[in-house]
C-alpha cells in the first residue's frame, strides 16, 4: 500500500531490508527540502523570523514524538543521533554513575550490538556483572525465565521490544511490572518496534526507550531518547557545549538549561528532526494498528510459502513481526544475497549486528527479510520463486 508516495519505488527494486532502514515518502523529503530552501537557520536563536520558525518546527516535531509514544511531557523526549546514541546516553549518563561493582544488568543474547557493547564497557570499567535471560525453544523471553536470573543485585533489565534477527515481540508490560516490583529499571530498545507497532510508554511503564527515525520513514542520523521525567532529570549530560547551558563563569559555576535542551548540546540535526515530524504524521495517517496488521499479513504469506520449500531452514517460525530469518541449506547466506541481488532483490545476509545470537540459535549467520507495510505479495512471490530452485541458486550465486 501507499507505494506511490515513495520515490525509491520508481526503480525496479524489491526492497526487503526494512529492518536496516526504510524508504522515505515524498512528504518527508519535501519537508527537509523546505527547511533548506526556505528557513535554513539555526535553532534556539529566535532573534529573527526564520530562526523563530526553526524553533517552532523543531519543537513541533518533539510534540509529535511525545504524542506518538504517549509520553507525558516534552521534557521526556530528547532528540539524539539514533538508537545507538540514545542507548549510550542512557548507559553512560544514567547507569554509569549509579551502578556499583557487582550490580547486575540483564540482557539477552539476541540483542543488537548497541544494546550490548555499552554494557560491556561498564562491565570492564566499573566491574558490573552481565547476565542473560535464558531463551525458550523459539528464542523468546518468558517471565519465568527472567525470574531465574534476577538477584538482589539486579539493577536494570535492558532489552529490545522486537529483536532484529528473531523478530520476537517481548512481553514488555509484564517485564516492567515484575521489574518495578523488585526495584529494577527497564531500558527498552525500540529500534525494531516503534516503527511497526503502537507504542504507549505510559501503559507499558517503560523507564527508558530508544529508537531511530530512519527505520520509520524518517531521515538518517536522528533518534529519540525517551525517559520518565524524574529519571531524565538524573541523566548526566555526556555532551557539554552550546545550547544546553544557561550560563558559566568558571568551572565551579556552570548553570545548565532545563530539559529537554540540557541533553541536546550543540546544533542538532534540525532538518532531520523536522523531517522526522513529517514521517510521524505520515505513519499516523495510515495508523499504526493498520501497519502492524498489514505486516503480519505479509509475514504469514511469506512463511506459508517458505515452509513448503524443503531446502529452506527457517530460524524464526514463531514471531509476530515482519522479520523472517532463514538459510538455504548448504549455501552460505551471503551467496544467496548476492544471487538475489542479481534480480534486484535486497535482503540482508550476515549476523545482523547481533553477534551473540549464535549462542542462542547455533546459527552464525542467516538471510533476513524484513518487511514494511509498503511491501507486496507480488514482491514476496518473486523472492520465493527465486528461492525455490536450489540448482539455480548454486548456478548463479557466483
Amino acid at each position: 500500500m501507499n507505494r506511490e508516495d515513495f520515490p525509491m519505488f520508481n526503480q525496479d527494486i524489491v526492497y526487503l531490508d526494512n529492518g536496516a532502514t526504510t524508504f522515505k515518502p515524498n512528504v518527508v523529503i519535501d519537508k527537509i527540502k523546505d527547511y533548506y530552501e526556505n528557513y535554513s537557520a539555526n535553532a534556539h536563536r529566535g532573534d529573527y523570523d526564520i530562526s523563530y520558525k526553526v524553533d517552532l518546527e523543531y519543537e513541533d516535531a518533539r510534540e509529535k514524538v511525545v504524542n506518538f509514544i504517549n509520553a507525558k511531557e516534552k521534557e521526556e523526549v530528547i532528540f539524539t543521533g539514533g538508537t545507538t546514541d540514545s542507548l549510550n546516553m542512557i548507559v553512560n549518563g544514567f547507569f554509569a554513575p549509579i551502578m556499583e561493582p557487582l550490580d547486575e544488568v540483564i540482557l539477552t543474547t539476541t540483542e543488537h550490538a548497541s544494546n550490548i557493547l555499552p554494557w560491556f564497557r561498564l562491565a570492564n570499567t566499573k566491574g558490573i556483572k552481565i547476565k542473560y535471560i535464558p531463551l525458550d525453544d523459539n528464542y523468546h523471553v518468558t517471565i519465568d525465565n527472567l525470574k531465574k536470573v534476577i538477584t538482589p543485585n539486579t539493577k536494570v533489565i535492558s532489552l529490545a521490544y522486537v529483536t532484529n534477527v528473531i523478530g520476537d515481540i517481548r512481553p514488555i508490560k509484564e517485564i516492567t511490572k515484575f521489574a518495578h516490583e523488585n526495584n529494577i529499571f527497564v531500558v527498552v530498545d525500540g529500534a525494531q518496534s516503534v516503527p511497526h507497532l503502537k507504542t504507549d510508554v505510559q501503559d507499558l511503564d517503560i523507564d527508558f526507550l530508544a529508537f531511530s527515525a530512519h527505520k520509520m520513514l524518517g531521515p538518517t542520523g536522528v533518534g529519540v531518547l525517551y525517559g520518565k521525567r524524574e529519571l531524565m532529570e538524573e541523566i548526566e549530560p555526556i555532551n557539554m557545549g552550546g545550547g544546553m547551558n544557561e550560563s558559566f563563569d568558571n568551572e565551579k559555576e556552570i548553570i545548565l538549561k532545563d530539559l529537554p535542551a540540557r541533553l541536546e548540546a550543540g546544533t542538532p540535526n534540525i532538518a532531520g528532526v523536522i523531517g522526522f515530524g513529517a514521517a510521524i504524521d505520515y505513519l499516523n495517517k495510515i495508523g499504526m494498528d493498520k501497519i502492524q496488521e498489514r505486516e503480519l499479513q505479509l509475514r504469514n504469506y511469506l512463511i506459508e510459502k517458505l515452509v513448503k520449500i524443503p531446502h529452506i531452514d527457517l530460524i524464526n517460525l514463531e514471531a509476530d513481526s515482519g522479520i523472517v530469518s532463514f538459510n538455504v541449506e548448504g549455501i552460505f547466506s551471503q551467496d544467496v544475497a548476492y544471487y538475489l541481488n542479481k534480480y534486484n532483490i535486497c535482503v540482508r545476509a550476515g549476523n545482523h549486528c547481533a553477534k551473540l545470537v549464535k549462542n542462542a540459535t547455533g546459527v552464525t549467520n542467516s538471510i533476513r527479510v524484513s518487511l514494511y507495510f509498503y511491501n507486496t505479495e507480488n514482491e514476496i512471490d518473486s523472492l520465493v520463486e527465486l528461492l525455490k530452485d536450489k540448482e539455480k541458486i548454486m548456478a548463479e550465486m557466483i
Binding site: 552460505f332 551471503q334 548476492y338 545476509a349 550465486m397 557466483i398
Partner: protein, 142 residues
Amino acid sequence: MDKEIKREIIMEHYSHPKNRLRKDNPDYLKVNTNNASCIDNLDIYLKIKNNLIEDIVFDGEACAISIASTSIAITNLIGKTVDEALKYIENFNSMVNEKEYDKNILNEAIVFDDIYKQSNRQNCALLPYKGIKKALLDYLNK
C-alpha cells in the same frame, strides 16, 4: 578462459576446497582474515621453514568466491618461497584491481580476471591474499 569453465573451476574449489581444516600446531603461523562489510571470516595457518612455504591450511566461514579463492591460493602458494609468494600476491591484487598484471604466472587464479566487474565481490576474491600477505610480512619482520 571460457565463462563456463571458470565457473566450474570456482565451484569445484568451493565444493572441495584444498586443505580446509584446523591446525593447532606450533609449527604453523595463524592469521585471521575477514571482510568488514560482510561476514567472511577465515583463519589461515602457514608453515614456513627457511623462507619456504611448506604448507597452508584454512578454516572458517565465507562465501563461495572467498572459499574458492582461498583454495586456489593455497594450491598455488605451497612450495613457493616467501618472496615468490609476495610477488604472486601483488600480481593477483593487480589483476583484481584492474591494473597491469602478468597473466602467465597465476595458474587457476586467472578465473577471477573479470571479478572487478562485480565490485561487491572483489574483496571476496582478495580475502585470502590479504591474510596470507600479512602473515608473510610478519614472518619476514621476525
